[in-house]
């Protein structure tokens, strides 16, 4: 074996990576070749000398630094491991698969729903037309009257008819009849006389206090009211004072 090939294997020899066959070849060569033997001897000495270089131990700072770094990483990776329920959970669709279906199916379903709504609406309205609607209107009228009276009553408890027709106000007999009628003690009723306050039905005038107030307003005329409607003998007029 040539010297150059032998020298290539010196590294194997120094680092301890050599098999028996190679080992034998090198030994045979260096036994005959002075140059290679001297060189290997020199290299081996240098290699062995490096042993004296001390293996140093790092400071405690390195270990503590490593473990604090590791601890920090473990902590952060634990956070990563916790499953984010909000993220992973699939949102349930409120329209499950409806728009995912074919377009023709969707259009057909919507049309059926619209027609069903129209038909049912028509049927309901036709039933109400006759008696129920009238009842509803009356109820609404009464409610409006009640509300209006309430407004008047709440206005400093002034129940005032403000004025009467000019002819009635001039006729004391009619006034007396009205008063006795309101008080409920008189059976004498003015001919076709109706009395209403903002279309207020008589039936609701049950409280004596309110009746008295109304009478005093009618007789004295001292108190005021916003809007009064008095219907006497079929005549209806609205007064604004």
């Amino acid at each position: 074996m040539k010297c150059i090939k032998i020298k290539e294997r010196f590294a194997d020899l120094l680092s301890g990576e050599i098999d028996n066959v190679e080992n034998k070849k090198i030994r045979e060569h260096i036994a005959e070749c002075d140059s290679c033997r001297d060189e290997l001897e020199s290299l081996s000495e240098v290699w062995a000398k490096l042993e004296v270089l001390p293996t140093e131990t790092p400071g405690e700072k390195l270990r503590s630094g490593f473990y604090s770094m590791l601890e920090e990483n473990i902590r952060s990776s634990t956070w990563e491991k916790i499953p984010d329920k909000g993220k992973n959970k699939k949102r349930r669709k409120w329209y499950p698969g409806f728009f995912g279906r074919k377009l023709s199916f969707s259009v057909m379903t919507i049309t059926i729903v619209i027609f069903a709504g129209l038909i049912s609406g028509y049927l309901i309205s036709s039933k109400l037309k006759s008696g129920q609607i009238m009842e509803l209107r009356n109820e609404l009228k009464l409610a409006r009257q009640s509300h209006s009276l309430q407004m008047i009553l709440n206005r400093d408890n002034r129940i005032v008819p403000v004025s009467l027709f000019s002819d009635t106000s001039k006729n004391p007999e009619i006034m007396e009849n009205i008063i006795s009628y309101i008080l409920g003690g008189s059976k004498i009723s003015p001919p076709k006389m109706e009395f209403s306050l903002l279309s207020f039905p008589f039936g609701s005038m049950e409280e004596n206090e309110k009746k008295k107030g109304l009478i005093s307003s009618l007789s004295d005329g001292t108190q005021k009211i916003a809007d009064v409607l008095i219907s006497i003998t079929g005549k209806v007029k609205t007064f604004s004072l």
Binding site: F10, S15, G16
Partner: protein, 208 residues
């Protein structure tokens, strides 16, 4: 006769070293796999196994800078954690580790001041306390070897440290450096030869 015994010892030792290395390294891969799969705490085992050799690797590369070497070891383990998902079980952990270590060192070199010339290194004041004749001689030897190592070109120094101090096989070094095994062997041979020459000069002509 003396020389024959020396060579016989050299050949015998080589076998034991080889066996010892194979035992540890298969275990490292299993541990690193666990780290990669999320058992980060297992990295502590690898740290305990390798921080000392890595520290000394950097210590020799940096010319004995303890503070820098500690920092560099720390950076290596930070990178292991950062890039743990890239660990391939087909490759040896130790090869992967030293690849990272080399990159960390190269990054460090880029950040630090430009390299010091050989003359400046030789003229540096020895950092060893001189007490007693034997200690003085040993200290000088250590100082000269360290200086000779530092005077080696970066690539030669690195390959020599990997081979001599890190207990790595030529094949593993070839994987780390990304070259052929034969190239590694030739480089080791040349590095040792050059180191011997530099040491010879520093010691005033005395090799031994």
């Amino acid at each position: 006769m003396k020389k024959t015994i020396f060579f016989c010892n050299l050949f015998l030792n080589s076998g034991f070293i080889l066996l010892e290395r194979i035992m540890d390294r298969t275990e490292d891969n299993k541990i690193m796999e666990q780290v990669r799969d999320g058992n980060i705490e297992k990295l502590a085992i690898l740290f305990e196994r390798y921080h000392l050799v890595l520290y000394n690797f950097f210590l020799r590369l940096t010319g004995g800078n303890r503070s820098d070497s500690e920092d560099l070891v720390q950076y290596v383990f930070i990178r292991i954690l950062k890039y743990r998902s890239t660990f391939d079980n087909q490759n040896k952990f130790v090869v992967w580790l030293y690849k990272i270590a080399r990159n960390v060192h190269h990054d460090h070199l880029r950040k630090t001041l430009p390299e010091v010339s050989d003359e400046e290194r030789i003229n540096r004041e020895p950092a060893i306390e001189e007490t007693g004749i034997e200690k003085i001689e040993k200290s000088r030897m250590i100082e000269n070897l360290n200086t000779a190592l530092l005077c080696l070109p970066e690539k030669k120094r690195e390959i020599l440290i990997l081979s001599r101090f890190q207990q790595l096989k030529c094949r593993e070094i070839a994987e780390i450096l990304g070259c052929k095994t034969t190239t590694v062997k030739v480089r080791i041979y040349r590095a040792v030869k050059e180191l011997g020459e530099k040491y010879f000069k520093l010691s005033g002509g005395e090799v031994s």
